[in-house]
Symmetry: C2
């Protein structure tokens, strides 16, 4: 049985117990949300998953790190170092987006070393392999696609991005849109090309019942991909994007009816004032499915800083309903990230997730902020470092810039405002701490 089927039957799985404990919420409440489909717990039935995670309603906002080889950087060893960096930095999930080297073997190695849910985009493997074998990605067959999905399912992949909403209908809407950047999803682009070249419907849509059958068998959580996500602010919230979302909403409903867990992927690039609207419309159109956002990046002009444009949009998204943030690294739009970029990307996305949790009043997040603030007031540097979201970086800066400054830092020195007032007030202002 899938987590969803168990929950519907009132059965509490070990994964639900684990997630409820980590989130400090009642396990019955969690199970009810899994049963409704507003929470997913991605875990392949064949996987020995050390640290399950819950994604969705009322849970802490989660962060995913993408790793994976490319044609230019095909070595799995490099990706294992990135995997370790992502986990050390606190990633809740990892996606293997490899397109270079021996893909099944790379995936196996990453799965074996990944204690958190692992996701993939199966069409990458199918397209890359077919392109190598037959010279063109359009020569892929529907059966190739399903075989790839099943192969990866048997390997133990926990969640899969499938662009089931790229259909003849949504492509027609795209044509009528007048986009600036067109299609910026790799999986989406492959399918658009396949559909138009072969003059046939997307097999992932046309044969969606078979997708559901496979997903149910292995309890793969579907991550319904947004192949028409906006690739720039000017394309945000256009008809192609919303058309695809309508289709994905229908597919969420069918997934639940089949006992399959599903979440929905979202933008992309988007001006900040459109983000809350997008979260609301996604939740409404997609049956309150967990929402997995790729940013959104709030401006297009900051290559080198897109971990930051992602954190800005991601915080607003998460406070407005998004449940899961896919990190972006400083190399986005410029190249494949290296290990330092992965680390920076995860920490930055975690800041966004945590800032949203604070605003939403989630007790653990609020407490963490308060403990840090008390340590700051007390000028307890050891505690400030320990509580930092990145203790290594905080310690390094403190030692570099404020090595011998006693209980204050080199910014204000003895004119430290908290110290100036503490001397006078004592604990008076601080009464309620």
């Amino acid at each position: 049985m899938t987590q969803l089927e168990s929950a519907i039957k009132g059965i509490t799985t070990p994964e639900m117990v684990s997630v409820a404990k980590a989130e400090e919420i009642d396990v019955d409440l969690l199970r009810e949300r899994v049963a409704k489909g507003t929470v997913v717990i991605p875990k392949n039935v064949l996987r020995d998953l050390k640290s399950p995670r819950g994604v969705g309603e009322g849970l802490s906002v989660k962060v995913n790190a993408n790793i994976g080889t490319s044609g230019d950087f095909p070595n799995v060893e490099d990706e294992l170092v990135k995997l370790r960096a992502a986990l050390d930095a606190g990633a809740d999930a990892v996606m293997d987006l490899s397109t270079g080297g021996d893909l099944p073997s790379i995936r196996r190695t990453i799965l074996d070393n990944c204690p958190v849910p692992l996701g993939t985009v199966p069409i990458y493997d199918a397209a890359v392999t077919i392109a190598r074998e037959r010279g063109a990605i359009t020569r892929i067959t529907a059966d190739d696609l399903f075989n790839t999905i099943e192969y990866q399912a048997k390997q133990g992949v926990d969640f899969m991005t499938l662009h089931c909403g790229i259909t003849r209908e949504s492509i027609e809407r795209l044509r009528n849109c007048g986009r600036v950047t067109g299609v910026v999803s790799r999986g989406g682009a492959f399918l658009v090309k396949w559909i138009l070249t072969n003059d046939a419907e997307n097999p992932l849509y046309e044969r969606y019942d078979e997708v559901l059958e496979l997903a149910r068998k292995y309890d793969i959580t579907l991550s319904l991909g947004d192949g028409f996500r906006p690739g720039c602010g000017a394309d945000a919230t256009d008809r192609a994007q919303i058309q695809e979302l309508i289709i994905l909403g229908e597919l969420v409903k069918r997934a639940r009816e089949a006992g399959v867990q599903a979440m929905v992927e979202g933008p992309g690039h988007m001006p900040i004032n459109q983000i809350a609207t997008n979260m609301q419309i996604q939740k409404r159109l997609c049956e309150n499915a967990p929402f997995y956002v790729l940013g959104p990046l709030v401006t297009d002009v900051a290559p080198g800083y897109d971990h930051i444009t992602c954190a800005i949009g991601g915080t607003v998204a998460a406070v407005s309903g998004a449940d899961f943030i896919c990190y972006v690294t400083p190399t986005e739009h410029l190249g494949l990230p290296d290990v330092e970029d992965v680390r920076e990307g995860v920490i930055t996305a975690r800041i966004a997730a945590h800032a949203a949790d604070v605003a939403l009043g989630k007790p653990a997040a609020v407490k963490w902020d308060r403990e840090m603030s008390k340590a700051r007031r007390a000028r307890d540097w050891k505690k400030q470092i320990d509580l930092a979201i990145d203790p290594v970086k905080a310690k390094k800066i403190k030692e570099l810039r404020s090595k011998e400054t006693g209980d204050v830092c080199s910014m204000c020195g003895e004119f430290c405002s908290m110290k100036v007032v503490d001397e006078y007030f004592g604990g008076a202002i601080n009464a309620e701490c």
Copy 2:
């Protein structure tokens, strides 16, 4: 005459012409806003200011960089390097917050090298000097304070942070608040200590008419400081903060009646869901004065990354009405920034300012994003680098990670989604670009 007095009389100053040109808006409209006080143009009458800037209603969001010596790092040479870095990175204004070394001489040097508006916090100089001479900052006199303000005015300082809203009344409200981090403004802390030790009212409040007289004489733009800004999320939007804001609103009104330009400073640390409310209440309580925000930082747990927590809050603030963002660097809460931190801080704050301008539909900002997106679609790398908010960093990453990858980058290689679809569609989707 001050810019405000000129505007009220319908006189267009050279600074208004310069600002209107830079902002691509009608100079009469700009003058009307200066006359209302919803736009300020900080420029001391004695200053030879190369690049005036307008701050406020309908103008692009501006970014300030703080530089300045401290007791631990007292060399003006270091600060000149930071000044150059801040200007190169695109800072619209600079504040000299020096507290170490020969303060008047440092200020003179910085003024001479700064083509954009320069601000100070005069009480720092008064407090540091008196603390050195008389052993305690509380031994400052009201006349010392006014002499310092006038001295700095004669040097040509364009805008000054004055914490006029720290009064016996607002201190009493602070006492009743139960704050976690108490007072985190240096100027605020000095004044609290002064008021309580000397059992006397804040001279900047009690003798506000004299403040206005000086400000009017030199056309110093008052930046009414928020001495009780929250220093952590838990203290945000409390009674002490809002009490001070009410007082500052009254002082804005009096400033305008005296022909003095005024803006208001704001938080601070603040959960993201309180930011829009704060912007609205500030505008309402303070007669729509330009709002100069210090962040807000949306979580307390990210020392080493507070340029990012500032950018998240700053974007939301600016899209909700803030006009001017004070940068925060990665060393915030840990020590004085070095030159790389200054550069990173300015770029990050500019991303926030620009992302807000895009969302607010300001034509130049929207056009910049669109041009970048078109270059991205065309895989025109030279243009992408040229248009990047930090071309140096973008170029460095591109060369490091995608040196010989042709027209695509190493992230997707030949599987570049835009390329995959372009081959098929040609310009079809792109019709309206």
